[in-house]
Structure formats: structure tokens, C-alpha cells
Symmetry: C2
Subunit: 519 residues, 2 copies
Amino acid sequence: MTEQFRVDASAPVEADGEVPAGLLAAFWRYERALMADDVAELDRLFAAGEHTIRSDVAGVLVGHDAISAFRRGRGGAPKRRVNRILVQVVSEDAALVVAVVAPLTGGSGSQTQLWQRQGDTWSITAAQVSGATPAMDSRVWRSVGSPLMRAAGSGALDGETVAVKDLFAISGHRIGAGVPAYLAEAGAGHFTAPAVSALLEAGADVAGIARTDEFAYSIAGVNPHYGTPPNAVVPGALPGGSSSGPASAVALGQVSIGLATDTAGSIRVPASYQGLWGLRTSHGAVSTDGVLPLAPSFDTVGWLTRDPHLLHRIAETVIGPGAAVPAQVAIAPDLLAGIDEDAAAAFRSGLRTLVADGRIGEPVEVTLPDASETFAAFRTVQAAEAWRAHGAWLRDHPGAVSGAVAERFAYAATVTPEQEQASREALARIRAEIDHSLDGALLALPAAASAAPAANAPGADIDRVRTATLQLTCYAGVLGAPSISAPLFATDRGPLGLSLVGPRGSDAALVQAAAALAD
Amino acid sequence: MTEQFRVDASAPVEADGEVPAGLLAAFWRYERALMADDVAELDRLFAAGEHTIRSDVAGVLVGHDAISAFRRGRGGAPKRRVNRILVQVVSEDAALVVAVVAPLTGGSGSQTQLWQRQGDTWSITAAQVSGATPAMDSRVWRSVGSPLMRAAGSGALDGETVAVKDLFAISGHRIGAGVPAYLAEAGAGHFTAPAVSALLEAGADVAGIARTDEFAYSIAGVNPHYGTPPNAVVPGALPGGSSSGPASAVALGQVSIGLATDTAGSIRVPASYQGLWGLRTSHGAVSTDGVLPLAPSFDTVGWLTRDPHLLHRIAETVIGPGAAVPAQVAIAPDLLAGIDEDAAAAFRSGLRTLVADGRIGEPVEVTLPDASETFAAFRTVQAAEAWRAHGAWLRDHPGAVSGAVAERFAYAATVTPEQEQASREALARIRAEIDHSLDGALLALPAAASAAPAANAPGADIDRVRTATLQLTCYAGVLGAPSISAPLFATDRGPLGLSLVGPRGSDAALVQAAAALAD
């Protein structure tokens, strides 16, 4: 235990009337509990029930339970001094208390609390808090400029701003891949990846380099070195990964475009979790030169946006108009069996609404090759390639990656050439079977197996959802086909993307078709 | 006029009781007025009087007048949609309304408003607002990394973080000097200024490159291209310049050290305005190699911190222990004649308290050479050198600098060699006279002629305060002596630095002496 922080209760009080008895004592009890991270006491001082409110820059929490869970998860508030207390007296039983605070690490903050009395007990029924802001949210970003790299041309993307996932070469900058030991050894290159140049030439500025899960080998959006980027729409939830930084940066309104990669779902999952539009492109449609590989057979470049028309403009500019998409939509009911009930229900009812509104025709039901078999083959080839890409470096740097990513690489190291070859053969067969089953239709499926899990959910829950999600997202990788996540559905726990998988080469048309569903 | 933004009043309302009549109508009136920037209507909807409160991340405003002035100055709120309304009913005449909002440019925000009814009229008596945060505050920073440049050694500054004023060479980065046209032509160099290296070698990380007034030729802290950095302690006030970015970054708690320059007051003025410790060093004590010059006869490198002991550690590490400082303090009462009354009063009473507390001995009163004559000579030499440094470039780039800085350079272009020579001779004579008057004593004077003026104060007011401040700060430059601004005094309008000018070479001892006054 660190030394107890001593709360100095000498701040001057300015009130617009007589301060009700007991109010200030309760205020200071709260402040002492906050500084001691005494969650039980804080819970007692926040009013029980479903209507208690706590707001800050990360979002609004409603209900005592949600607020209590937040407190338990955060590991204490920054130490601070209360410099000034302003009281608006509403009645003998209610008052608003505004405190001006000075964090010990500099800057200033404030909080507004509505205190109400029941009997002799004062409690907070609503609070809003502002703290000091960092120069940059290093959970989201590695580096930011104004801009980091200015547009090299003018065109369809004039005025847009880009968060580049920390896997792409940018002249004068290093690639960090979410791994500090890797970054420390990286040199700044003189080459800019064509996927970056294409945006610069079309008029977009690069605002900065944004975070990724370690070597992009995860869909959670957790990074133990730099912290978990915030989910901009579900306070306290995972952002989704591995394109966590670009996704959060777009969802937070800090840039308009996230330039990212999707090997097994790394664009579509954060898009689904944070209510964004995200496109995984057709294999080979966008150059992966200058992009750190994870599994080259499945690695694709793509984008995240808030606006579907912008996503369409990007796809048209970078890839060209490409192939058309069919009107017929197919669904594979078997795929819904493994996902969370509320997500399956949201998908089914969302799709029914789109049909009822005449936005899509009645879907055909198809049977696809078994999801667990498909994912197993996908996962084996992905692991073999990931080990080929990073195994030698990881052997030389024990402990450089951690947690679930380390486990995944440990498994990857065990994949034999025979297993890899057998999985490649299985994938070729599965691909032909899917093509046959779909018969040219658009495949509609949920972009993830659930809304974003809470960041502090048990590891086993996160693992379960991860596998269920990958059993959905792997189909596009197996096909080499473009796949969009469109933020059209929601569960009570947050947004859920509608994913559409289109024919290979139909990238721009696929975005346009999805955008039409939202207009 | 742009098209009127249409407020959609369909957000769902969740209340913990019966919503009082008229409350929601007033809420939506406010929202419409906010989106239309109808300041008169907003003023009507905020309760009159001195107790009304408005808080956001920039600080807490108290009183209807202060809130109204803020609204008039900001040019409207970001357009947004209200997505959810939560109401805590306190009584028939009072309720708290929390709104969850979605800015059109992405991200999310929230506001907490206390509404109270007088007769039939609902008005807001307190509000706190959170908006979407940018990736980086580009008023304060040009570029930020995590870190931008990692420590090159370990020592007295381990764990510290530095904001480098955009005048210092950093390998791999350009110098922008607060002037976009200059930045656009600058190339990234392969040299790091020794003043930067000294901090890196002592264990500090460079967090980023921070803003300056154009070519550092101002003490206001205004930059028309990138915006005025916020004053972290006086909401709506000027940050002080030209080291505005490093000062605000330190005051906001974003870094622990600002690496800056002071030619005529560019460290001491922002330190005074934002309650920081700031040191202008002895001429020649810290290398200015790799630092873009303004007026080399007066250019010095120095630092801004929140903690005097850290400032002392920096001075000892970079410069060494150096000369001692005398115990005797001198004041020059004539110098207080030209400054704001409240500042003069704060200085006099602050000094009296230090004497009464036994922290300093009774000051001797001295007469220094006339302030306006001293400043006139200083200003002429500074201008001649500034034109020598930047005149050719400015002639080739008409319009590259603006406002007061452009006027200053226009004047600089007119200084003749004869005027410059005469002023240099005057300065030599004045320097000898000051040395003689001080007779080895520490000179104590206010670090600025006023607390920080409001950022939207009339230009004439800012000009007047500027001249009065420079007539204080120029003495250290004339002497080539170290000068500290210590955040020991305050007026009702904000902090005011106590400036001490020590013997040449006494930098570290001067900081230690000033720090002892605060302990």
C-alpha cells in the first residue's frame, strides 16, 4: 500500500444560500473515499437505484450498478486537491455542489454533483466530472501531428484526415506493431506504403499513427503495453481490434478515416463494436507493400469511417469501381447458432425490417461448410504464416508479447508443415463449397458474435466471444472476398454490424449497396 | 449565414418522476438557441446573478457575466444531436437534466444542467459540459509522440517529460517557428540542439513540439494560424508567449518541463500568466546552437515547470551549480508606476508578507535607469537583429506573418545601422548604471505588468499591457542576467509572478533561492 493521501478540507465554500446541514460533511466523506479508492464507501454515497447518473468525457453511466462496476475497474481516481467549492442550494434536502480541483500532476478539473437527502442521509444522485486531458491519448495513438504528413495531392479526399494503424510504412517514421520491443529496434524508413500514398494523393492528411493489438494478432483491441483504447460509444467496453486505435480515433471524431488491416476480422470487429463503417477489401485489391505482415494469405488493407459515402469514395478512389454486386442476399442460419442470443435476435429482426422496408429482397437460406471446421483450417494457415512472419524475432525476444497474443504465437510455433498443407487443401475445398452454396448471392451475417464485451469481462467470456466471432468473420478471408460491416443493428449492450460479403472485386459496389440500406 | 441547423427534439426522455411542466420546453429552447448561437436567448436561459456556474474542461466560470462573455467570444458551439435525456426531478421547481449528445463531427458528449423555476420561468443555475476531445490540442502542440524522442541517458531528470518550443532542432523533425509558410519549406534535419540533448541525456523524454508565437516575436501567446493556447488556470485568458505552447502544456499537466526561449520575456510572462516557475538563463549559460534566432544578443534558453525543485534540478544539471546569489533584495519603486494597480498592489503586499515571514530581509530601494529609455534601446537592437535573422525570408514571403508580429517586423525593417549602434551604446551605459545601482543585490520586480489579460480583450489594452510588461522584463536582457518568475503572488484576475534577477552565472542558485520562498 502506498501512503494514504491526506485530503485537505480547507477549500473555501461559496454558496447562494444557507448550506443544508450535513451536506459538506458528506461532500468531504466522498472526497476522502475517492482519494482512498474506498469503493464500498463511494457506492454508499452514490444513490441506489437505476436513475443515478455519472458522466465524464468517456460517456454517461446510468444506474448504481454500472457506476459501481466502473469504479471497481478503474483502480482509483487521480490524486487531487479541492481548491474551491460552489454550492447552489435547491432546498433543505437538495443542493448542487461544484468543486474546482487541481490534480497533483498539474492541470485542473471540476465536478458537478447533485446531492439529495433522504432522512438523515445525503447521497449523490447525479455527477459530471472533467479531468485534466493528456497531450495525446496514448491508448489510441503512438504519434500525432498537425498533420503528421500533409496531403500530396488533391481530389476525392480533400480535407479528410487519417489515423494510420501502426503497421504501415510512412517515410521518416518507424513501424511499432503494438510491441514496444519491436518499436525500439525499428528504424525510420524512407518509404511510404502505397496504401498510405493513395490517400495522401487523393487529398487526405495523415493525422497520426494509431495503436494496434500486438502484431495485429487479436480482435479484442487490448494492448497491455499502451492500454486499451476506449470504446467511443459503449463506455467501459472493448474497442475491438486489432485496428483498435484507428477505430477509436474515428469513433471519437478525431479523424474521418482509419487506415487499417483485416486478416481475420480486424476491421469489421472494431467497426461492429463502435458503430462504424468498415471494409475488408478483396484479396489483392489494395497493395500490402510496406505493411507489416501477419498472415499474407489473408492480410488485407481496408478502412473505417463514420460516413458510408466517404467509405465509398475511398474504395472508388483507391480500388476503382470494380465489379457489381448482386441484389440477392443469402443468410446461413447455422451461423447464428454459435453467437450470443441478443446478437442473433438483433440480426434477425434487423434483417426482417430491411426486407419489410423493401431495402432488400427476401433472403435465401443457404448451408455453408461447418463454421468450426472452416475456422480451424483458417486458423492453422494463419498461425503458420504468422510464425513465419514473426517467429524468429519472437524467439530472440522472449516476453515481448503477452497474454492471449503470446499464447496464440506459442500455438503458432507448433503448427507442422503437414498440418498447414492439410489446412490449405481443406480451405480450397471449403472455398469452392461456399462459392457453390452462395451461387453469386451476397452473404449477410452479423459482423461479430456479440456487441462489445466489457473491457473487464472475465477472460473466458472474451475468449468464447472471440471464437464465435472469428467463426463468422473467417468466411470472407477464406473466400478472398470483400466484406463490409455496416452499423445498422444494435443490441441493448451496444451496436452490432451487419456484415455483407460480396463477390471478389466488388469492393466499391458493396459499400454503395450497404450505404443504400442506411440512407 | 450558413443554413440554419435543425434541432431534432425526438430524443427519448428517462425521468425518475413526473417531469415538471415547462421544463422540457425550456430545455429545447436552450438547445435551439445553442445551435443557432443565439447569445441573447442563451443569456436569458441562464440564471442572472453572480452564482450561476458553467464548467467544462477549460475551467469553471462563475457568474452570469463571465458566462455571457465566454459565449460572445467563442463563435458558437459545435453542432450536435441530442440522443438521450435523463431527468432527476428534485421538486416541482427544480430538476437536473443530463443530455447525451453526439457531435456531428463524431465522438460523443454530455451536459448536466440544473434547472430551477422562478414563477413561470425556468432557467439554468449550473451546467457542466463535456465535448469530444481532439487527437491533440493543435493550439498547444504541433506534434506529439509517446514519446516523440526517448531519453538518451539516465540521471537527474529520469521520468520527466518535455514540451519543446518549435524553435529547437530535433533530429528527424522540422522547425516551424509558429509560421506555416516557414514550416512548409523546412526540411527535417539530422541535428539535435544541445539544449534538447542535455535534457534527453539526463533522462527526460521529449513528448512533443509545442507552439510559439510567430518567430517568437511576441509575449501575448496568440497565434493566428494555429489558435491561441488555453491559459490553464484563468479560463479565457491569454496564455502568455512566445513560449505559449510549452507553458500551457506544463500548466495543463501534459508534461513536466517546457523547454523554451526568452528574448524579451517569453518564458517569464507565460510563467506569470499561468502560475508556473520559469527561468530565463544567463547569457551564454545554455547553448543556443540549433535554436532559431530572434535577436541573438538577447536570446536565451530556459525552462518552465510546475515544481521549483525540478527547475532547480534542470538548472544544476544543464548549467552546473554556478555562482551564489546575495541575500539582499532590491526593489525599484519607479518600475511599479507603469503597471496595473492590482498587480502593483499584489507585488507590494506579497513582498511585505515575505519580509514579515522572515523569508527575505527588508529590501533596499534603488533607482534604475528610466524604463522607457531602457526598453527603447533594447527594442531597437532586438528589432535590428530580428530583421537580420528573418528579414530576407519575410521579404520573399509577404503575408507569412500577421497582426502585431507583422507590425513589429515592419518596424524592424526601418531600423537604421546608426539607430542600432546608438542603442547598443545606450545599452552598455545603462547596463553599467544598473550594475552600479543594484550593487550586487537581487532585483525583485513583478514578472508582468498585470495578470493574464482576457484573450478577447481589445487590442489596445493588450498593447498597453505588453509595453508595460516589456519595460519590466527587458532589464534582465540588458544585464545578460538570469531571471526567474516564481508563482508566489496573485491578483483577483489570476496569478502574478515574482521575478528575481540574479548575478550573471547564478542560475541554479537563483532558482534555489526562489524555491526557498515557496517551501
